[in-house]
């Protein structure tokens, strides 16, 4: 049983760097290019881990501590989140609140880390990150409250295991609303396309990428790895709620969940290929919209 509990963290640790690869491959396909290998992030991580480091003279220990906190938070969140029928190692009533707030801790250090360099570009990125993530929080928590209200469970593990496809028939609209809200949160928190362009090459237009400009070597490797894990984590949350598969066979459940993650990555790739980034000034309206969807879902489940 203990081994089973550690299975999800292990799967995620091994497979998470695949997601950016799949996204990039999809985008390349749409653009008619061959694109980088699916395993590119693994190569990058391996290369970075073997390098030395360069630090800016203005930085302090905060700058070096940040990446450690980021990766630790991602690992801890993996132990809270169930995946495709696999139980979570740590589960208790209210773990979904801890889950949401853990990302807050990581964000605090990302912002502070960026400010530590004293660069105006990184300050700008930090300000944007602070703004957009702040607006994401209500969407995420109210959305989770809606699911709690519907399922009656305050723990992610219980919530995932009690959801069935038949619930779509009963409260389909609510699920669509929460699903869309969580998708927007997923895209924002992971700095994906309509909000942030991960491929941009101009510091002025970046959000997440600009905050880690000064990191190098193993620190950068840990940041990239943590980012991939975050993609995995929020994806799992989205899939666990929207696609409640319970086939009865554990291995099959896991397989389907992995497949869903791959499909989600393809979907992100499609979104990135077919949409332009919206103006930074209009991002708050989108996030307020996501919160509104969550609120509607919560009110709908109230009947």
């Amino acid at each position: 049983m203990t081994a089973l509990k550690l299975l999800h963290p292990l799967i995620a640790l091994a497979a998470a760097p695949l997601l950016p690869g799949v996204i990039n491959r999809t985008k390349a396909l749409f653009a008619g290019r061959t694109g980088q290998p699916v395993l590119q992030l693994y190569y990058d991580l391996w290369k970075l881990l073997r390098k030395g480091a360069v630090y800016s003279r203005s930085t302090t220990w905060i700058f070096r501590l940040g990446p450690m906190i980021g990766i630790s938070v991602a690992l801890l969140a993996l132990t809270i989140l169930p995946f495709g029928g696999l139980p979570a190692a740590i589960r208790f009533e209210g773990d979904l609140i801890l889950f949401a707030y853990l990302f807050g801790l990581a964000r605090f250090f990302t912002i502070v880390m960026a400010l530590d360099t004293g660069s105006s570009f990184e300050g700008m990125g930090a300000a944007r990150e602070a703004t957009f993530s702040t607006l994401c929080e209500p969407a995420l928590l109210i959305g989770l409250a809606a699911i709690t209200k519907y399922t009656g469970s305050v723990s992610l593990s219980q919530m995932f295991s009690s959801l069935r496809f038949s619930d779509w028939g009963q409260a389909g609209p609510a699920f669509i609303l929460v699903g869309s809200a969580l998708l927007i949160v997923f895209l924002t928190e992971n700095s994906r396309m309509p909000i942030d362009d991960p491929n941009t090459h101009l510091e002025l237009t970046m959000i997440h990428e600009v905050m880690i400009l000064d990191h190098s070597g193993p620190d950068l490797a840990l940041i990239l790895y943590a980012a991939a894990l975050k993609l995995w984590l929020l994806g799992t949350l989205l899939i666990g709620i929207v696609v409640p598969v319970h086939s009865g066979h554990p291995a099959l459940d896991v397989l389907i969940a992995v497949l869903c993650m791959a499909l989600l990555a393809v979907l992100v790739g499609i979104i990135e290929s077919s949409m332009a980034r919206i103006r930074l000034l209009h991002v708050p309206a989108l996030l307020i919209g996501a919160t509104t969807l969550s609120v509607l879902a919560l009110v709908l489940t109230a009947r």
């Binding site: 609209p173 708050p284 307020i288 509104t292 609120v295 109230a302």
Partner: protein
């Protein structure tokens, strides 16, 4: 529980909120058209199984007017007066959406206390109807362009129509058609009026019309 009716209701709520948050006039007209067209299907769904021929007729008329004729009229006016395509709100888009959500929750509460002559086909119909009327009023109050006010008027009518679907046993077709005709004439007249206002003053900003009173 009627899932299709519920879905239509939620669609209605989302279109209302979208109207509050959208900045382009053209998009607004399209959203109102979509809202009207989907609403036209409501009598077919809410009658509960047996659908009579006059319902089909009625539905077709509603979809035709709300989904095609009105939008066409409005877009023509928009083209003629060459208005700027941005809406220019008194209250910002984000704030409008937040306010709208709060009003929706309030409407849910209000309708839970409202005594009704019969059980409506969807529990959502009454609150959503309230909310649609409120959104229409909100658009009229908070936006500068005269065209948006016509849109608000249309949205309000949609709300009243939905409310009718909730409480009336069988749609009194004549009454509904009468209202529809009224709205048609109103939209027509407003379009002409706006055209003339534009020709006189070169804009259709209502807040500047207040200068006329002196």
């Amino acid at each position: 529980m009627n899932n299709i009716a519920d879905t239509i209701m939620i669609f209605l709520v989302l279109t209302n909120l979208a109207l509050l948050g959208v900045s382009r006039l053209g998009t607004c007209i399209r959203i109102v058209a979509l809202q009207g067209a989907v609403l036209g299907l409501l009598p077919l769904v809410s009658s509960g199984g047996h659908v009579e021929w006059h319902l089909y007729f009625f539905s077709a008329v509603v979809v035709g007017f709300k989904g095609m004729v009105f939008p066409w009229l409005l877009r023509r006016t928009l083209k003629e007066v060459k208005a700027q395509r941005e809406i220019e709100p008194f209250i910002g888009y984000g704030t409008s959406i937040a306010l709208g959500t709060a009003v929706f929750v309030l409407c849910m509460w209000l309708s839970s206390r409202l005594p009704l002559p019969k059980e409506p086909p969807s529990m959502l119909i009454v609150p959503v109807a309230f909310f649609t009327i409120m959104s229409g009023l909100f658009l009229i109050i908070s936006r500068k362009k005269a065209l948006t006010q016509v849109l608000g008027y249309l949205v309000m009518e949609n709300g009243i129509y939905t409310f009718g679907a909730a409480i009336v046993e069988r749609q009194p077709v004549l009454v509904e058609l009468g209202i529809l005709l009224d709205v048609f004439v109103a939209v027509f007249v407003m379009g002409i009026a706006m055209f003339h206002i534009h020709r006189e003053f070169d804009h259709i900003d209502t807040d500047q019309l207040s200068r006329l009173r002196t």
